[in-house]
Amino acid sequence: MIQSLRRNVSIYSAIASTAAKARLAYNMWVWADFFATIISMFIFVYFWRAVYAGETTLSGLTLAQTINYILLARLLAPLVETRTIYFFGYMIRQGQIAVELTRPLDMQLRVVVETFAELATFLVQRLPLFLLAWLIFGLQLPSNPAVWIAFFISLILGQAVLFLFDWMFACLAFYVTETWGLSVVRIGVGSFFSGALVPLVMMPGWLQNIAAAMPFAQAMSVPVSFLSGITSLADAPRLWTIQIIWLAALLILSRVIFSITVRKVTVQGG
């Protein structure tokens, strides 16, 4: 029992460190990503300044609050993008899926470990950007450690929710082989309803309801609202409970759907 646990831990930590190394290997991409993020921060800051030119508050948010929220959302925006769908498409195209399914590891667990290792690497890699956002645009981060803890807990829960949703959505790749288009659709819908582009409170009621019925906000709006000071700590237990319900439901659903749809798989070659 203990031995198999130890074996599992060593296998999954090897997977995690490989994923982190793979992410760090491509220097040029990191620089390009830095640059793109800085550009998008410039655009969003100027845009929101122009929006607030004649107003003091919009939907109860001041310019400073909105800019703080938006800067954090820009810095964390790639977190609501997805690689799971593309990964499924790649495996099917290359025939790699056959190997994955015969491995003596749980495939979903393996990929989730990889995804979270990448997430952690990504956050560390982006630290200089947080510094730049502070220097150029006056990004304010909370000094209360409890807020940071609330942020990290809701970020991890939210990212897990999003991962499980993507896992379920990616099962469409077994039917449709065009995964680039599926990813783009998912990123478009996801970035809007996650609150990565505009604070969700600014949306009209009916759009807020749609956003609440989708899992995306759990991975972006909920954690970022903690960090930018829009959500108070008193709301934390309620928000965590909602996230855990999402997590439990999607965990069951994603595994059931995967095990049914994977029977449909037709490998294209490889």
């Binding site: 390009a32 640059f35 550009i39 998008s40 939907s59 065009e178 600014m202 759009l207």
Partner: protein
Amino acid sequence: MTRYLSLYGYFLIQRFKILMEYRLNFFIGSASTAILQAASLATIWVVMRQIPSLNGWNFYEVILIYGLLTMGESITHMFADNLWTIGWNYIRSGDFDRFLVRPIDPLFHLLADRFCHDGIGNFVTGALLIGVSMYSLHVALTPLRAIYILVAVISGGIIFIALNLITATSAFWLTESIPVTQVVFNMNEFAKYPLNIYHNAIRILLTWLIPYGFVSFYPASYLLGRDAGPVVWLSPVVATVFILIAYRVWLFGLRHYSGTGS
């Protein structure tokens, strides 16, 4: 010239035969970019329904800027998408050498090799946005305006292609050019909004150095009868100058291409 046109037609037919093998994929690919645009547009709508104008530009006026940019972008997406993939798809694999031994221009061959259907969604979205905006603002489509839009959109597409061509040339040295292209290409996001919301330095950059302003902001200023000076007539000139520079850069890179040995 006619030879190249008929060759392009031939390439296009072959490409569509491939695309039609997977009809559902063709549809998803074409529609997916439109959904990405919908997310940005919904954002603008959510924000602008709360305020009367963005630095003097109302919702439909911003939509016109956005629509012009989207149409310009769709042209490079449809006809020059291979400038993105030249690194990993052609140079790294050695496939690029194939173009060099054929009796046609290698750049033409590269571009004609893959018409990209994913840009169709953007093309339709852009056209719709321009139409909706002009209709809502009661800007009549006179023959002069129609010609102006046509010239502006084509010039805009050429500006996009020229900038991507310059950055894609880096693939001859770096093998992978996407990060370089990405950096310059992303600057087009500035031109989704009126350039007068930015700091002067950004406006000058977007006008003379990385001239995405000529794709959207200046043509929109003309169509809406705003006083922006003679720059509103410069889109075709800027496009010509940039594409000529880009072609020289490309030729320079081509001379220094030595293959990857794969």
